[in-house]
Every structure is written in structure tokens, then in C-alpha cells.
């Protein structure tokens, strides 16, 4: 499933932690916005990890689900390039 995760966290330290977790599940596209392509299990795991961390009185995390036909309709102007998940190279940019 395709999920857009958007969060509003009042405390810097907690926000950094949440940012770090989300980086393991998807791609950071804007401040406080992640795009994640996940299986059901992966989503459940992510959700429970975040759930343990936040303070519901002051923080909020929203999950927006995109259906398969809507994914193709996303329009982007500028910003982060979408990561290609088929191959990853670890090498120095100038070498």
C-alpha cells in the first residue's frame, strides 16, 4: 500500500526520533512528509513503533492511503527526486 505520512511534533528531540524511524520505511519528500510503499506487516510495525513514541496530547501523525490508481496521478513540481528502488550504488560521488 502507498501511504503518505505527515506529522506534527512539538518537541525537537522527539521529532528527530520520528524522522529517523520514518526514514527506515519510506522516502522523505518534504518537511514532515514521507512517502512510504509498504506491505501490511511493514505498516503495522511502523505504526506501532510510532505509537509508542508520540505524546497524543501534543503530537499528531496522519496516514493518508493512496489507492493504486491514485499513485499514478501524483503531480510533482520541484523538490526531492523519487528514489529508484531497483538498484542502489554505494560509491563516492567523485570516485
Amino acid at each position: 500500500m502507498n501511504v503518505i505520512v505527515s506529522y506534527d511534533i512539538s518537541e525537537d528531540k522527539r521529532r528527530t526520533k520520528i524522522h529517523k524511524i520514518l526514514k527506515s520505511y519510506g522516502q522523505w519528500v518534504q518537511y514532515s512528509v514521507f512517502e512510504c510503499y509498504l506491505t501490511d506487516t511493514q505498516y503495522a510495525k511502523l505504526r506501532s513503533r510510532l505509537n509508542k513514541l508520540i505524546k497524543p496530547e501534543s503530537d499528531s501523525i496522519l496516514f493518508y492511503f493512496l489507492c493504486a490508481c491514485c499513485v499514478g496521478k501524483v503531480e510533482r513540481i520541484g523538490g526531492e527526486k523519487i528514489r529508484d528502488d531497483t538498484i542502489f550504488f554505494a560509491e563516492c560521488a567523485d570516485g
Binding site: 509498504l38 538498484i87 563516492c92
Partner: protein
């Protein structure tokens, strides 16, 4: 899902949260979620942290080490699956059993038919080529496969077919900058051979992973005899994929001139030829693209990518050995 290629020498591979994190010279050069990874290949020299190793094993992500030139060094595999029944069936078919003979027939037939179809297609695309002699020789090697009930004779047919195929490989290269005489290995001493060897190493990493997922013992094969540390079953299953993936990628990279002679380095003493880091990256990209490309599986009748086909073929092999199906169908594409 993708494969990570660590091509930077002296890189440090670690783990942060649930991500694979590669650093070089104190700078981050790669940071990807582990859920997006289905294989890690280290080319050359790299340090890998104990935490990263155990995380990869836990997530069943195979880790392969290749030398800078793409020579196979070894693989760190997660524990073989607990499916003892597959392995039992695999061991019971050892030697000259009827099942082993059927499988070897399948592997050889798959490989040679793919060779033949490959040549016929190239000939159709390019009317200047005349490969009919080689196609006939290949067909002569294919015809007796069904009636040959002896593994050594089948190995002979495979050799004859491969010879017929490689005899015309040079004609398939449509640039004047490269040429191919015959297959040279350990080490390859010309660019085309070095690309072929490099490609086969990459393919072996992928197939060995698939064989492992299906629950096999990769070291017991039927076409390839047992040798210490040789994953014979992976090599067996690789046969039908060689022309479909590696040979096709090698030819298309050369013919599209994505690689030129300046992308190759020659070692002075041994004459071993290898790719430069930049060339290697381009070749890896081509290989990964090919692996992700889709086709219609002739037996299952649905679309799949080559990457999925590795595992599908391994599972079909398991089904045959366990007696669930009558035949093993090698992947033959028109």
C-alpha cells in the same frame, strides 16, 4: 526491491535504525531502508559491521563478496530453510537416477534452445547475418537430448551446443571496437570475455539466493558434479538463464556503445581485463534493468520479471523433485 552494490573500496557498511548505511571517508554515500533490499553485493574491499551482518542474516538478505573484477569470492547466506523435505528429495535424486537425468536433460535443453532462439532472433533483426550453420549445429545438439539417458553424454551435448553458439558470438557484436574469438576464463583476457564472466558472477549471486529460498542445498547439483565449495545446483539452474540475461545484456551494452575500450583496464602481467569503476557502474545498471524487465512466463502464463523467474524456476524444480509434478519445465523464451 533492489540489490545494493558496494563498489567503493574501503567503504564502511553499517546499520542505523532499520537502514543500511554506507560511509566512506566519514561521509554517507548510501542510506536505504532494509525493507527495500533483497541482496547486497560487495565488489572489492569493504568493512561491514557486526550489527549489519546479523541484521542481514535475520532478514534473509544474502551478502555476496566479489573481487574488484567481479570474480566470485563467496556468499554469506542466512540459515538454509527448515524445509527438510525439499533437501531430502534433492539428495535422493543424486547421481544417475531417473530424476537427475530428467533434470539434466531439462537444463541442457533449456540452455541450448535459448541459445538457438537467441541466434534466430538476431538473424531476423539483421538480414546481413548468416547464422544458419550455427543454428543447424545447435539443433543437432538439441535433437538427441530426449533420447540420451546418460549424464556424461548430456554434458557432451551441452559442450557441443555451447561451442556452436560461441563460434558465432563475434558476429553478433555490431561495433568494430570489440571482438570475440573464443571463451576465455580465469582470467578473461579481452573485454567481451570479461563482461561475460562478470555477468555470470552477478547471475550466480541471484540464482543462489533463489535456490536457497526454495529450501535447497545449493552445493548438490546434477549437471555440475560435486566439488568443494561449488554451488552446483545454482550453476545448474543458471544454465537456462545465461543467454536470456547475461549474453543479452553484454551484447546490448556493446552494441548501444554504452561501453567503449576506454572503460576497460588490462592488468600487465596476467593480461586480465576488467572494467573501470565508471564502466562497471554502467554495466551494473544495465544488468539490474534487465532483471526487472517483464515477460510472459510460458508455463505459468502470467507476467513476471526475470528476478521473480529465478525463484519460480527454483520452486518448479522443488515441485518436480518432491514428485508433485511429472516434469521440470526449463524456462525457454521465444
Amino acid at each position: 526491491m533492489g540489490t545494493v552494490y558496494v563498489t567503493q573500496d574501503d567503504a564502511f557498511v553499517g546499520k542505523i535504525d532499520e537502514r543500511l548505511h554506507v560511509k566512506f571517508d566519514k561521509k554517507t554515500i548510501l542510506d536505504v531502508p532494509l525493507i527495500k533490499i533483497d541482496g547486497v553485493v560487495i565488489l572489492g574491499r569493504a568493512t561491514i559491521s557486526p550489527a549489519a551482518i546479523s541484521e542481514l542474516l535475520e532478514r534473509h538478505i544474502p551478502l555476496t563478496f566479489l573481487t574488484n573484477n567481479g570474480c566470485y569470492l563467496g556468499t554469506l547466506q542466512p540459515e538454509v530453510t527448515k524445509n527438510i523435505f525439499v533437501r531430502k528429495a534433492q539428495w535422493q535424486a543424486i547421481g544417475e537416477s531417473a530424476q537427475a537425468i530428467h533434470l539434466v536433460q531439462g537444463f541442457v535443453r533449456g540452455k541450448l534452445k535459448n541459445y538457438r532462439n537467441f541466434l534466430i532472433r538476431r538473424q531476423r533483426e539483421n538480414s546481413n547475418l548468416d547464422l544458419s550453420v550455427n543454428v543447424t549445429r545447435l539443433e543437432q545438439a538439441i535433437a538427441p537430448i530426449e533420447t540420451t539417458k546418460n549424464i556424461n553424454s548430456l554434458r557432451g551435448l551441452e559442450g557441443a551446443g555451447s561451442a556452436a553458439y560461441f563460434a558465432c558470438f563475434n558476429q553478433l557484436i555490431r561495433t568494430t571496437e570489440f571482438s570475440f574469438n573464443n571463451r576465455v576464463r580465469r582470467p578473461p583476457t579481452d573485454p567481451v570475455n570479461s563482461l561475460l564472466s562478470f555477468g555470470y558472477s552477478l547471475l550466480r549471486h541471484d540464482i543462489q539466493g533463489a535456490v536457497n529460498i526454495a529450501g535447497f542445498d545449493p552445493y548438490l547439483g546434477y549437471l555440475h558434479c560435486e566439488r568443494y565449495g561449488r554451488p552446483s545446483l545454482a550453476l545448474d539452474l543458471m544454465e537456462e538463464f545465461r543467454p536470456l540475461i547475461v549474453d543479452a545484456v553484454v551484447l546490448s551494452t556493446l552494441n548501444k556503445q554504452l561501453l567503449t575500450p576506454i572503460d576497460f583496464l588490462t592488468e600487465p602481467l596476467s593480461g586480465a581485463v576488467s572494467l573501470t569503476p565508471e564502466g562497471r557502474k554502467r554495466f551494473l545498471q544495465q544488468y539490474a534493468q534487465k532483471k526487472q524487465s517483464e515477460f510472459k512466463h510460458p508455463v505459468l502464463g502470467r507476467k513476471c520479471s526475470y528476478q521473480e523467474a529465478f525463484e519460480l524456476q527454483a520452486r518448479l524444480l522443488a515441485k518436480y523433485l518432491m514428485g508433485e509434478t511429472e516434469k521440470y519445465p526449463p524456462l525457454v523464451l521465444k
